[in-house]
Symmetry: C2
Subunit: 357 residues, 2 copies
């Protein structure tokens, strides 16, 4: 039983996948641009926004996880490169991500994404009108979703056993699209069932979906699929809990988000719910002076942050993250996986759970 | 060469398809409801809206056309029912339609759809907030799209030649999703290239897509696919031109839309563009008193309507519709199709082009 800390194996893998996926996406956008220039040049602003936002950044974690799952379910000496064989599916996940970010940013009123203006802000400038810009952003998301489907489906073999695997992978993408939408709806409705939201909104397309698609493309067994699903669900929820902890306690220089951002935005994270439940009257008052108040002072934010730590809410989140991490490792214990693939997955889990940005 | 007028064959077919598709959709929504009740009951309002809007009406023209294309490419004595074998794909098209209507209605600010409140209006009531209602409506559309994919993909055989056909049909759905989004974007941007908008926004998912998916599921030849695509493109554009003519000259009792609706909404149809180009100064003034003016009087609307007829714009649209109808018939002249299927397609074309509602 291998229970590695961060070994660096997955980071190196992610660097390799990132380079390959960005080349693939560049080629995809260039081909779509040539096609649009002849059939509907008036729609080029939608392509510009999708291209810009997709290429502007992102760690390409999801394609790397997808390729690692593919590697894990194949024999150690299998011919072909998992990074090469899953490249289009990985690029499709990045387009899915663009679709989700564009719609979410408009819903949440977030004006900045990946260090630049979000899609509805860019498109409101193009059309000199906020509603037209918002409408165009919704369409940019819809288009990125259609392109994710196109890239996944066109890349795959059209017949034989390849078609069967392709169809299974496509069904997995439909499930991801369904779950992430349900999760976002629960989130905007301020559901207090935080782990259900995390499972649907985050784990679905960050971990479970990529793992499942990669494994299906590698002809995984039922036992492998089930183990990867349990692994993915645990690290996906842990990933979101870590995100929420970093949103309050992270170093702004590393996270790229101003301190207090999540509190001022009023995000009802586990930290917030636990503070409301566990904190003293003083803690709850301190929290309420920053939570959901865009105009809260830096002092208000510091007081609220202290209350979250003091009442034990922060410790509870850290303990839950550790427990989920252990569950994830256990999920892989008794299933047959290639050594290389297993190392990548274990390292990915440690990286997700312990990251500082 | 058969060049039928309206024979009634397609109407009877549509009645049969409609009944079958509505049973299928009912079962689909009931199954999704049971699943949601256990995994995410908080998301039931999204299902309610999709279910309500989808079942509230619609002629189910697209599933009927899809099944007719399937019938047309198969041998006259093939076993199995085209309506039965294409039922899930047809139901998927109805979910795609719901997705598009929900997003479009929010963009266009349309408060009524199929005789009831549109999705963003219903959801703004649920959440007592316009922006939350709009966000929820975008998610309802996104969810209907994911469900269209699920229904198309899950219904199809997972292996053998069935998987190859299924994959081809799924690729066609990705193309439809892409085109209809581009068309809607050109439309909200008030593109003056009306026939490109009609081809992308209307023909893609009303005629070409259903025909292509039905034909692919029936293992059509390349020649059959090409002929159906030309047929579909012509009748799809003619369908939209007929829609625009009915929007101005139709009988409100039959169309279900108030007279002057399209003019007051400022739709820049062929009728409008031709009147601006062909009309006298008097005609153009009359048009401008109603076009895009929500507060235009019934007299203003009558004057504008008269101007559109007087300057020849209405006749031009009727001539273009007839020319497109002839092109559609010619497209099917030299291709091998079953007699039953050919009759259905010709009758569908006549019905689309000559309808009064």
């Amino acid at each position: 039983m291998q229970r590695a800390g961060i070994t660096g194996a997955f980071s190196a893998w992610m660097t390799e996948v990132r380079a390959a996926v960005e080349v693939r996406l560049r080629a995809f956008f260039d081909a779509e641009r040539r096609a649009l220039e002849s059939r509907a040049p008036g729609a080029l602003p939608l392509l510009d926004v999708i291209d810009d936002l997709t290429m502007r950044g992102g760690k390409r974690f999801r394609p790397a996880l997808l390729a690692a799952a593919h590697r894990a379910v194949r024999a150690e000496d299998a011919a072909g490169s998992s990074i090469g064989e899953t490249l289009d599916a990985g690029a499709a996940l990045e387009l899915l991500q663009t679709y989700l970010l564009v719609h979410d940013d408009w819903m949440d009123g977030d004006a900045v994404r990946r260090g630049g203006p979000s899609a509805h802000v860019l498109l409101a400038r193009v059309h000199s009108d906020a509603h037209l810009g918002a409408s165009a952003a919704i369409l940019a998301g819809d288009l990125a979703s259609a392109w994710a489907w196109r890239l996944l489906l066109e890349s795959l073999p059209g017949d034989g056993v390849g078609a069967t695997r392709a169809l299974a992978a496509a069904r997995a993408l439909a499930d991801v699209s369904d779950e992430v939408t349900l999760g976002q709806y629960l989130d905007i409705g301020a559901s207090t069932d935080v782990e259900t939201v995390h499972r649907l909104k985050t784990a679905s397309y960050t971990t479970c979906g990529p793992l499942r698609i990669g494994a299906l493309l590698g002809s995984a067994s039922r036992a492998q699929l089930d183990a990867l699903d349990r692994f993915g669900s645990s690290i996906g929820i842990a990933f979101q809990l870590r995100d929420d902890v970093l949103g309050v306690f992270g170093d702004p220089a590393q996270t790229g988000k101003p301190a207090g951002n999540d509190l001022r935005a009023g995000k009802r994270t586990s930290l917030v719910l636990d503070t409301e439940r566990l904190g003293t009257a003083h803690d709850r008052t301190a929290l309420s002076r920053a939570l959901g108040r865009r105009d809260a002072s830096d002092d208000d934010v510091r007081e609220a942050t202290s209350a979250i730590a003091r009442c034990g809410a922060r410790d509870r989140s850290e303990e839950r993250i550790e427990a989920l991490h252990r569950e994830a490792l256990v999920a892989l214990d008794d299933v047959a996986l290639s050594d290389t693939g297993r190392s990548l997955l274990l390292d990915a889990a440690a990286l997700l759970v312990r990251r500082a940005s």
